[in-house]
Amino acid sequence: MEDTIPAPLRVALDDGLFGEETPLAEIERRLDQYFSVEHGVTRASLMNLAIYTERPETLAADDESLNRITQNHACRALLLGVLPDEGGLSVRCWIKARCQLGPDAKTKLCSEQVTFLLGGDCQSCLTNLVFSHLRSDLPLVMWWRGELSHHFQESLYTVIDRLILDSSRWPDPIPQFAKIAQAVTAPTGRLSDRRGQLLVHDLAYTRGHQHRRAIAVLFDPPAARAFLPEINRIEIVHTPAHRHTGLYLGAWITRQLGAELTQRVGASYQYQRPGGGRIGLSLLEQTEGACAIPSILLEGGGARFEVIASGESPLLEIRSRFGQHQTNAFLPGPRLGDEDLVSEILMRGGSNLLLAQVLPRMAAML
């Protein structure tokens, strides 16, 4: 294993970033021991949260992500790093507690973290490691970094309650979406008391949340809604890394308008409305911009509705113009960091119905 550990990870290991190295069989005992000797400490836990990555060079950054997330979400954290295949199976693990002062400024609230570094082909060992280190009865949220590899297998995903992905980072998304389709319709695993299907969250979709809210606000006034049947042109501008967020927004807007995709030419899509009207949707790429989606425009019947992420401002501007009417207002802008998005997902919970309904339409636009 030692040979395949990338340099940045080696530095992190030398610095003791992941805590105390522990024999696999000792993990639970040592954690219990830690909490029994530390006084004034609360071992807080609301869920099991696992981060999985096959890019071990990012483990230190993933550790930092857990640091930020656990400040708001007490959990048993599992950090799973898989080294590229290299013969024999090997596992190293570390434990640590992340503590912060509670609101009374006296009690320390701690999340515990177990980090695994796996070498060799660990297809079945991964599932076992996850199973054997979950805190019982608490849901399992898995943040899968990168593409869904052969490690993403049925025995594992049937025990996951919430799966968090980021499709915008996938070089070849089509087979990836097919895997998700398979996972969400798979029967619930024997070991999970999950009632429904696997809940999937795509960060590429979550990134568009404030934009969706902004569009909803634009059409709150009934006078604005009167123009909904007239909308015939939609233009979504995205930055290069965020085409998927743009696609999701396009898929969502057209779904809510009841329109169906009929034709696609490059980044232009034609939709048909139930009443016969047509909508043209174009996705434009813009190389610069701090925000994934610099602007959205909905137009038709002489009315214009816009959502604009202005420069470096953390706010979204909404503008509408129809008849004599002209408004502009500001709303909170999108969260930028992946950890913030994950925190938002954990905070909101819910069954993520909307994504489930938008996802097939987005996949059809790929």
Partner: protein
């Protein structure tokens, strides 16, 4: 489309259809579908009467600012403050900014404040001056016609209660109570809502002569607290509690609201005219009691829930005479004592308190609910100032298990107790018996504890944020309805009458500041073979 087929889009579609339990709803705004689970607030003009007062500065404006910060305040909303002092819009905003800096829950961001504050203006008027209302009407019309948004108006009565009447009368006479075309008009009324049944009925008559009941929002900020809202979720979303939630399994219930504060900051003036019973029990504590004791509502609509709550209040057994009050209610005043190492004065020596006052800063009650579910289960309630610590909580004390097997053994605390903590440290705990490790069977009570703050990272929003948003959205679930208020007063009036108008008024007990209240309150329970929970 080919791409979609290739991807197994049919599967996705199947997946999506499966989950359409909720289906696309017939919502007006299609972009709101499934986006948020609450009804959405509409932009409006919030007109605050008493805008230079403490409530506006400390609670209302910071609540609106924090809503704006979260993106929950609908764009196009505006705030118009009304009070009698002369000041410009700029001066008014500056005062509000100063306070917001100090108290805002999520900090103060100057850029965001400037944008938010641009919607705030000030209107000077005496509450009884018809001219002032004409001016207000003109101001509203002007802003509504020159600024975007609908002519929705939310009148917030944040003045001292003696002005509620006159403000409502003036609103009616100036026609400001009438909804404008394409908009709505609502009124939010602060506490206290009356001082007895007669004044509450009078105020209700004035309110309802001015606004329809559906447009009237009587604030009880306890209902805006997360933990109060959680009572129904705990009861009706979990399978394990509701089957036990009745006289067969529950021995009694205790509701405690303890404060360490006395009459600092000049609050004695108002307090001495009210007392613990009217200030806290009539509204907040009876609301908590009704959430604990109500039947499951038919649905989660405002009236569905309030119908059930009001049934509880109507079923409270009344005290027919002063003797019954003396038996079941203890009133008390604190003597000097010590709080956290500081010597504090007795109630009668406090600032702005009549030295011969017969007002109670402490009250304890034994309440019976005459309905099937609660037959024979007393609810003990206590509220007091200058008690040992600040805590509000409800505890459900279960009956003892049958005295066989382990239960023949002596044990200190055999009953299971479920505690719902409202503040501080919101959360809940369950006490049960467990075997102590060792060769003999020795049992001790242990506690399963759940704390909001260690489980949910996000701090709870302030009660006023939630309540303002609900009023803008037209959701009255967390506001008291006319009949709730009046039935609560009917119950309270019997006690007030025995204390202040009967020939043989029950005595005023005393307790040392910094303790858990008078001995008489302990006797209230010990007579029944029970004790107050040690907090």
């Amino acid at each position: 489309m080919m791409v979609a087929e290739h991807l197994g889009a049919k599967r996705y579609l199947h997946f999506a259809r499966d989950r359409q339990g909720f289906g696309p709803t017939a919502m007006d705004n299609p972009f709101r579908e499934l986006l948020v689970s609450r009804s959405s607030p509409e932009p409006c003009s919030v007109v605050i009467f008493g805008a230079t007062g403490d409530l506006t500065h400390r609670k209302l404006i910071p609540a609106l600012y924090n809503l704006a910060k979260e993106g929950d305040l609908p764009p196009g909303s505006r705030v118009i403050g009304v009070a009698r002092r002369e000041k410009t819009d700029e001066e008014f905003r500056e005062e509000l900014r100063e306070m917001n800096r100090k108290v805002s829950r999520q900090g103060h961001d100057e850029a965001l404040w400037d944008r938010f504050a641009a919607s705030i203006s000030y209107h000077r008027s005496e509450f009884n001056d018809p001219e002032g209302y004409r001016g207000l009407s003109e101001l509203l019309t002007k802003r509504e016609t020159t600024e975007p948004g609908k002519p929705n108006r939310l009148f917030y009565l944040a003045s001292a209660p003696e002005f509620f009447d006159v403000i409502l009368d003036q609103l009616r006479e100036s026609g400001l109570n009438e909804a404008q075309e394409g908009g709505w008009t609502r009124a939010v009324v602060e506490k206290p809502f009356g001082t007895d049944l007669a004044t509450a009925q009078h105020l209700n008559a004035v309110v309802n002569a001015t606004f329809a009941e559906k447009d009237t929002y009587r604030i009880d900020h306890y209902l805006g607290k997360e933990t109060a809202q959680n009572i129904m979720v705990i009861r009706f979303a979990n399978a394990i509690f509701e089957p036990l939630w009745n006289s067969r399994y529950i021995d009694h219930v205790q509701i405690t609201c303890a404060e360490t504060l006395g009459m600092e900051g000049g609050r004695g003036g108002y307090y001495d005219t009210a007392g613990a019973l009217r200030d806290m029990v009539q509204n907040h504590l009876l609301q908590l009691l009704s959430l604990i004791a109500m039947e499951a509502p038919a649905d989660l609509t405002a009236d569905g829930i309030r119908d059930e709550k009001v049934k509880v209040i109507k079923s409270l057994r009344r005290y027919p005479d002063a003797r019954a009050v003396a038996e079941s209610v203890v009133r008390a005043q604190y003597k000097s004592g010590s709080i956290l190492g500081q010597t504090v004065r007795g109630y009668l020596e406090e600032d702005r308190i009549n030295p011969r006052s017969m007002t109670e800063p402490y009250v304890a009650l034994k309440i019976n609910i005459d309905n099937w579910r609660w037959e024979g289960v007393p609810f003990y309630m206590r509220m007091g100032k200058r008690l040992a610590k600040k805590v509000t909580e409800i505890s459900i004390h279960f009956k003892e298990p049958p005295g066989v097997l382990f239960n023949r053994l002596p044990v200190t605390a055999r009953k299971n107790v479920l505690v719902l903590r409202i503040q501080p440290d919101e959360g809940m705990s369950l006490r049960m018996l467990s075997k102590m490790p060792g060769p003999s069977i020795r049992m001790e009570p242990v506690k399963m504890d759940f704390q909001y703050s260690t489980s949910f990272g996000k701090p709870s929003p302030e009660a006023y944020e939630r309540l303002l948003l609900d009023a803008m959205a037209g959701d009255a679930t967390l506001f008291a309805r006319r009949d709730e208020v009046e039935h609560a007063w009917r119950f309270i009036d019997d006690i007030e009458h025995a204390w202040h108008k009967s020939n043989s008024p029950p005595p005023m007990a005393q307790y040392e500041a910094g303790t858990w209240g008078p001995e008489e309150a302990d006797t209230l329970l010990s007579r029944d073979g029970r004790v107050w929970r040690r907090l």
